[in-house]
Symmetry: C2
Subunit: 239 residues, 2 copies
DNA sequence: GACGCTCATTGACCCACGTCAACCTCCGCA
DNA sequence: TGCGGAGGTTGACGTGGGTCAATGAGCGTC
């Protein structure tokens, strides 16, 4: 990933110096007042990633932090024999790259076409000193990520396949904010869902089919789910 | 848990107004200069928990944050049918209670006799505004907790029983800082280890025995492990 | 419009780990 | 010195989900 792929005002970021960025309200940048935004815009650059493209690998030096402005990313850890655990996925407004030491402790890869806003880590950290509201916002996000991580540990350590898939659908609905009975776009394909839920692709497929046959979900196509019975799904998720 | 069980300068905290606290260097409080400590001491109170005693339940209003000054605590999530996932354990110097919303998202229970220093959450948050270094320290801790959580997700989602137990022993050695070939005190009993690793108590027991027969660990007694072959154990942990 | 590719589904079989149960060890207590 | 309870170990067996393999559905392309 060469530096010059990132352009100030490039795809995904720094539109009119952050002022007009459409995900500002969703992102950490929303913690800053308009008068403070130029300081952020000054160190921002944007980029687009194509589906499947890698943003960074686990172990790469952690030189940048990012805000997702469009699309979706998955975060994952790999074992040497290829086993993979997806530890999370990011949607527009999400922040990426907290000071996990000097190297990234997971890899990040675009799922769909994705636009990002990049900030050099050192300069971003300096901004945290200048704007405590930004650091406060980050701490809040880190806390809720931790809560989500613990929920995921419960899922991975103790839930059955049916409970995992039901939980996943409900979590997704909560994240993208579904209206009643609306279809949800699945940000992950079956392989990724399997690696996120600690299952195999076959088990994910079988379990989707099971929940469909039980009438809890609809599967209009491979990339969509429909919540048909939220209560029953919550029951199935193991509450 | 009634308020008056917590005493300013009581067991576990606020010794000589934090100045002489023996875990200060290990804890978030170490981020403050001596001149700033009194502000912290002013809102601190201490308490001792007996083994098995509950600090708070999942769902309780999150009114306090804590520093562990002695002993050990486990954090866990429960399902309605009793299945349990231990999401972490805390040792002296660890911080507990980040702003996970208005209620605790996990339960916390003393493993051994445990001493804690308590800070009312609202007042503690006010201190964060006053001392950015404290907030910065918390963000750093939250980041490394997140990294640990992701490692645990990989363990729970993708590792075999043997890999999980080997990983656990190595992680423990890293946490308590073992000398070569020294015995480690296990902070968790078999039931807790099982709930931490997403296994059953029988599988944990069998796997300890397996690793012992393979010569990777020694088991001098039920509460200790000895690393006999660190390299081989790392291999077994799945790297 | 048929070929080839990717992704998903489905079926048959297998195995790592869970379940159930017996037993052992340690320790406090009488 | 024996009893009882808690925690741990071990064995026999069962099963949820993994593995392997075939098939299907969608889609780009020549």
């Amino acid at each position: 990933m060469s530096l010059d792929e990132w352009k100030p005002g490039g795809a995904g970021c720094a539109k009119a110096l952050c002022e007009e960025c459409e995900v500002r309200g969703l992102s950490v940048c929303g913690a800053l007042r308009s008068t403070e935004l130029p300081a952020l815009a000054a160190i921002a650059s944007g980029r687009r990633l194509e589906p499947g493209q890698t943003l960074f690998h686990e172990g790469d030096p952690a030189e940048d932090v990012f805000t997702v402005t469009g699309g979706a990313l998955k975060l994952f850890k790999l074992m040497s024999d290829g086993r993979r655990q997806i530890t999370g996925y990011l949607l527009p407004g999400d922040f990426l790259g907290l000071a996990y030491g000097s190297t990234y402790v997971f890899g990040a890869e675009a799922i769909s076409g994705t636009t990002l806003c990049r900030f050099p880590r050192r300069q971003f950290l300096r901004l945290l000193d200048e704007f405590p509201a930004l650091e406060h916002e980050l701490l809040g996000r880190a806390s809720s990520e931790l809560a989500a991580a613990q929920e995921q540990m419960l899922l991975l350590g103790r839930k059955t396949a049916r409970e995992r898939v039901a939980s996943f659908v409900l979590q997704l609905a909560g994240r993208v904010g579904s209206e009643h009975d609306a279809s949800l776009a699945l940000p992950l394909n079956r392989t990724d869902i399997a690696d996120y839920l600690g299952l195999t692709i076959e088990t994910v497929s079988r379990t989707f089919t099971l929940l469909r046959k039980e009438g809890l979900i609809g599967l209009p196509d491979k990339q969509q789910v429909r919540l048909l019975a939220r209560e029953a799904l919550q029951e199935a998720a193991g509450i």
